[in-house]
Symmetry: C2
Subunit: 113 residues, 2 copies
């Protein structure tokens, strides 16, 4: 994956308001005002957050009269997860206290990822 895209994705996730917006979008499309409602924050602030999420590829938007419904776009989330997956075996091994076996396991290529 393009490093700039990962930058944008992780940066977008590094904000609790934006993570809450994504969580909300898991249960379906929502308009900007619907998304803004739970927050003690102005509408333009939410629009800015949405622009960040859109630029990161995490949401996309449609058109319904005046409304611009947002929906979750999970591909970028998958890309971030894929990046993190490269570390998964590391911490799993480490949690078993088997650091010394890490390289053996890696060279065998024997996990299910």
């Amino acid at each position: 994956m393009n490093p700039d895209a990962l930058d944008a994705t992780f940066a977008a996730l590094a904000d609790p308001t934006r993570r809450a917006i994504l969580a909300r979008l898991r249960s379906g499309e929502a308009t900007v005002t619907e998304l803004a409602a739970p927050f003690a924050m102005s509408q333009p602030a939410i629009s800015k957050h949405l622009k960040v999420l859109e630029r990161a590829g995490l949401v996309s938007r449609g058109r319904d009269a005046q409304r611009r419904p947002c929906r979750l776009e999970p591909a970028a989330l998958k890309a971030a997860t894929d990046w993190l997956a490269d570390y998964r075996e590391f911490w799993e091994v480490r949690y078993q206290g088997l650091d010394s076996l890490l390289h053996d396991i890696q060279s065998l290529g024997g996990d299910e990822r």
Copy 2:
């Protein structure tokens, strides 16, 4: 997980230099100068990046005479992955074009996570 901790973790990951440092640390401990070597950047800049990674709980540091060896601390990476895992089933379903089944699957709680 504490939201501030997730903030710090994702923010730390949103920088290619820091991700490269983490990748380097996968193959074992390294000193600040060793970590700085591949980058066209001053030593204090790397020290700052390491402080960000340390504050995010992604690395910890020891002491060996003048050296402050850094090692990967995978717990924070695991926490970030766990957060993203809540979205995994969503995109997996979506990729199969089975959006309409998402809520059924969720309410059954029937995946292996």
